[in-house]
């Protein structure tokens, strides 16, 4: 079924009786060409591009819970490509370009809103780093704009320019950055993949891999064994747990990142704003809630919830730059599990086990990568070679000493 304004109108006249399920609820077949583990954003977009772009036909996505239940369903919805290092920037810019045509491509309004992202800076040396970044972005074909304090005073008069502990000296804009209705991304990809014939099998937890002589031939699930010529793990947040079933240790730790939303408010913020001297970033959803977050709780966790010190730290950061939110109320807080990698950058790679592929380590930046991650993973699965923008996202890079460390924090995952 093709969605359109006309269709909405027609269905309205007919009492909305004609809408059909957005996806099927198939039983698993005994064998697939590609089995994708994890119906999160990345898994679903992988399935979508695998079938749409790379012509692979017989594909299943296995999901432990409900589709979209991973971090695609619990993030702060920001898209951007304001990276600095070659191994990242081309990839994220590719992703941003895919976002730009996505809704028309998969016929679903994911409310992709390029309302800009602004990183504030508060010192000369921080400005220098942002200039370096802005230039890297432009060299990679992305957009970047440096704003000085005066411009920001005009554009964002509610920021604290008067009494700030760390004065706002300017900011780096990426006007093409913005936000997306995150659940709709999962649903759009799921619906698109389903229409391309992909079996999305929910409530089908994988309990083991079928590995013979170093070759992966399928998976065991709670719904029985399923054969697969290629098995593609795509379970960021649970990567450690799943890959342990294949006997692999990863350069990844699982950490909890909390996110927050306020009560609904009339339009308050134009775009995404991040604080440079503390941990706070914020945007406003179309429903009116301020969606915000900050730093990781800092300790390894699979608990999908955090603790008070970070809640308070985030609120302090918010009040430090925009004290007009003092009377807005926090409505809900929740936690997601992040695959924190050893240099803050992800992996899209084959493994030492033939037929077993790995996609993970997205830290807290996985959402914006959803289209490119799926596209590049599909490329790797279909052609057995990395997509040109994802050549650096290899598992062996630490052994070789090729680090993609945007923050310069080294091999301590909770600092990225």
């Amino acid at each position: 079924m093709q969605y359109s304004g006309f269709k909405v109108f027609l269905e309205g006249l007919r009492g909305n009786k004609g809408w059909t399920p957005a996806w099927r609820e198939p039983d698993p077949k005994s064998e697939y060409d590609v089995i994708i583990i994890g119906a999160g954003g990345h898994g679903l977009s992988t399935a979508y591009y695998l079938t749409k772009v790379f012509g692979v036909k017989n594909v299943a996505v296995l999901e432990k819970g409900w589709l979209g239940s991973g971090n695609i369903g619990r993030n702060t919805t920001i898209i951007r490509s304001n990276y600095m290092l070659p191994g990242n920037e081309l990839f994220y810019e590719f992703s941003l370009k895919l976002w730009e045509g996505l809704e028309q491509d998969f016929n679903y309004n994911a409310m992709i809103s390029q309302r800009s992202i602004l990183n504030l800076f508060h010192s000369d040396s921080q400005r220098d780093v942002f200039v370096r970044r802005a230039n890297a972005m432009i060299l990679a074909g992305a957009d970047a704009e440096l704003a000085d304090e005066e411009q920001l005073r005009r554009e964002l008069p509610f920021l604290d320019f008067y009494n700030a502990r760390f004065p706002i000296k300017g900011g780096l804009y990426q006007r093409r950055g913005g936000t997306v209705r995150h659940d709709a991304v999962a649903w759009g990809y799921a619906r698109g993949a389903d229409r391309n014939g992909v079996d999305i099998i929910q409530n089908c937890e994988v309990t083991g891999f079928h590995i013979e002589n170093g070759i992966c031939k399928g998976v065991q699930t709670i719904k029985g064994a399923i054969g697969g010529k290629k098995v593609a793990v795509c379970v960021a947040g649970s990567s450690g747990r799943v890959m342990a079933m294949a006997g692999m240790r990863l350069p990844i730790e699982s950490h909890v990142l909390q996110a927050f939303v306020s009560e609904g408010l009339k339009p308050t913020l134009p775009g995404v704003i991040t604080f440079g001297a503390g941990h706070f970033y914020v945007s406003q959803s179309d429903k009116g809630g301020l969606v915000f977050g900050g730093d990781l709780d800092g300790y390894n966790s699979y608990a999908q919830r955090g603790n008070l010190p970070v809640v308070e730290d985030v609120a302090e950061g918010g009040m430090a730059i925009m004290p007009m939110i003092g009377r807005a109320r926090l409505l809900r807080s929740w936690g997601g599990i992040m695959d924190m990698s050893m240099d803050g950058s992800p992996f899209i790679d084959k493994t030492d086990i033939k037929g077993l592929y790995f996609n993970g380590g997205w830290c807290y930046g996985g959402f914006k990568a959803t289209p490119a991650s799926g596209y590049c993973y599909a490329h790797l699965l279909a052609k057995d070679e990395p997509h040109p923008v994802a050549t650096e996202m290899r598992l062996d890079r630490f052994k070789r000493g090729h680090l993609i460390d945007e923050k310069g924090q080294g091999n301590q995952p909770n600092l990225h």
């Binding site: 240790r249 350069p251 300790y299 390894n300 966790s301 010190p309 630490f398 091999n411 301590q412």
Partner: protein, 95 residues
């Protein structure tokens, strides 16, 4: 969270700084033949268990001791807290 410090009693976790897996105590012998591989594994690969994890916390806003805390990563329940120095000695690192 509250960490029950072996010497100081229960303290709020916000007084502490987190590092990671206790295995970081096991710095490899730089003179071993496979030192490159061992340092790579030491520096980069983690068990990352969903369950009990022995992990390092530093009591920065306290007595400056490093602790080995056994904590469940699914429930956050803490079942034991030891002085990391004692753990390191028990591993023979003072030799």
């Amino acid at each position: 969270m509250i960490i029950n410090h072996p010497l100081l009693g229960p303290r709020d976790a916000s007084e502490f700084v987190y590092l990671g897996d206790e295995s970081l105590i096991n710095r490899p012998d730089p003179n071993s033949e496979d030192a490159d591989d061992r340092f790579y594994e030491y520096g980069y690969l983690r068990d990352n268990p969903a369950g009990d994890l022995r992990e390092l916390w530093y009591h920065e806003q306290g007595d400056r001791s490093w602790l080995v805390v056994t904590r469940n990563t699914l429930t956050h329940e803490i079942t034991s807290v030891e002085m990391a120095r004692d753990v390191a000695k028990a591993k023979g690192r003072d030799k």
